[in-house]
């Protein structure tokens, strides 16, 4: 069996523009969701640490709800549910729903990672800051968060890789991205191997790019003397 029988690269080459477009869509959607989920995750972590139950309880419920339900269900809920809300009588575009659902989903996981980072910071750091008269807020911003984030950067990057893969699920609500490009080959030519293999290559490519970026970031951090303990 020659390669072209197994994987018809001639056909695939005809669809390269679609794949390039899909790759780009996956990249920017993931990037927007990554930034959004990091901001959301940080805010959620701050809220969960609040002494006020009416702040910390609903936020905890959100995290647990996201973690205990499938992403696809969350996506459908946002996609079909958001248009039911009276204020938003105009149908919300699928792309906006997808980005919103992915951000809310990933934000919950990011907040858990950040929380783990805060718990990994030595108690003495809190006491050292308190003892010189820093307020709770000054302590968190200047002493705790910088150390917590540095501790969990590998985990945050891992979650970012999951996010890129999860973004393929947006094709369920007809958002065009990398998997969507593959689905075009599937419906045009009924060539599942070409469709999914090429999409898989695309995700692999993104993963490799992230790996290079993550190595660079970690090297930069490892260069910081305080990390080398």
């Amino acid at each position: 069996m020659s390669l072209i029988e197994f994987y018809n690269y001639r056909v695939v080459s005809q669809y390269l523009p679609e794949f390039a477009w899909g790759l780009w869509a996956t990249l920017w959607i993931s990037f927007v969701c990554l930034v959004g989920s990091l901001i959301l995750g940080t805010l959620v972590t701050v809220a969960r640490r609040s002494q006020k139950k009416w702040i910390s309880l609903p936020v905890t419920a959100y995290v647990e709800a996201v973690r205990s339900t499938p992403l696809l269900v969350q996506l459908y809920l946002v996609y079909y549910g958001l248009s039911q809300i009276p204020v938003l009588n105009v149908p919300v575009p699928a792309l906006a729903c997808g980005i919103f659902a992915l951000t809310v989903h990933t934000g919950a996981y990011m907040s858990e990672i950040i929380r783990g980072g805060i718990e990994a910071v030595d108690r003495g750091q809190f006491e050292g800051a308190k003892a010189v008269g820093m307020t709770e807020r000054q302590t968190m911003i200047n002493v705790i968060y910088p150390q917590a984030f540095a501790k969990v950067i590998p985990s945050l990057l891992g979650q970012a890789a999951v996010l890129v893969k999860d973004s393929s699920i947006l094709s369920f609500i007809a958002v065009f991205e990398l998997l969507g490009a593959g689905l075009i080959i599937l419906s045009d030519r009924v060539m599942p191997t070409e469709a999914f293999m090429t999409a898989a290559f695309g995700y692999l490519l993104i993963y490799l790019m992230m790996l290079v970026a993550s190595n660079k970031i970690q090297k930069k951090l490892a260069g910081n003397a305080w990390k080398s303990r």
């Binding site: 050292g128 008269g133 002493v143 003397a225 303990r229």
Partner: protein, 255 residues
Amino acid sequence: MANVTAQNDVLVKVEGLSKIFKTADGRTINALTNVNTFVDRGEVVAIIGPSGSGKSTLLRTMNGLETISEGHIHIDGIDLVDKNTDMNALRADVGMVFQHFNLFQHKTSLENITLPQTLVRKRTKSEADQIAMDLLRQLGLDHLANNYPSQLSGGQQQRIAIARALAMQPKLMLFDEATSALDPEMVGEVLDLIKGLANDGMTMCLVTHEMNFAREVCDRVIFMDAGELVETGKPAEFFAKPSTDRAQQFLDKVL
């Protein structure tokens, strides 16, 4: 407020202080029971006693790291129990030195000393830098200004931690077993620094296991056992002949 400051130079006044901890399984532990004492301005007081005697707890209540269950502490006339007391402002005036230094791990020595000054004392960066570098020079540590804590020896870290507290120009310095985590050869450099502060007239309370240091440097010894202040006295008299059996038993073990 006035009636306390009027008693000429008492800086710290501890009255009927009790501290009750609740454990996770609902039991209560009396860490401190009805402690009464004082520290005069310029006085150096050693707090000694067996482990679990409440000496660290007593020290930590003095800057609000532990809450007070009963009784009062006044520092320079300020009531720590009063709900209107700004505890952050008070802590800025009371320096604390910990057993494990608690330097900010992601900051250099210099930044460790400047950060509290800029955040809490609202000094400008250049003012804070100036004060920090002056202190580092005095302590002979200026060559370590740009090192991170993880690059320093325990003794160096502790001296930087003391400098961080001194930069706030505190009225009172508290030392919680400041030399207990140090390798033996590093203890001397930290004790020498504390001795220098005593000579400069700094008011200090030290929880310590260094009995020779307490005898040499301190003006007064407080002996605690089982959460109670058992006796207090001049080091020369206390170490030669304590007036209680409990203190005598303790000294027999440690000396």
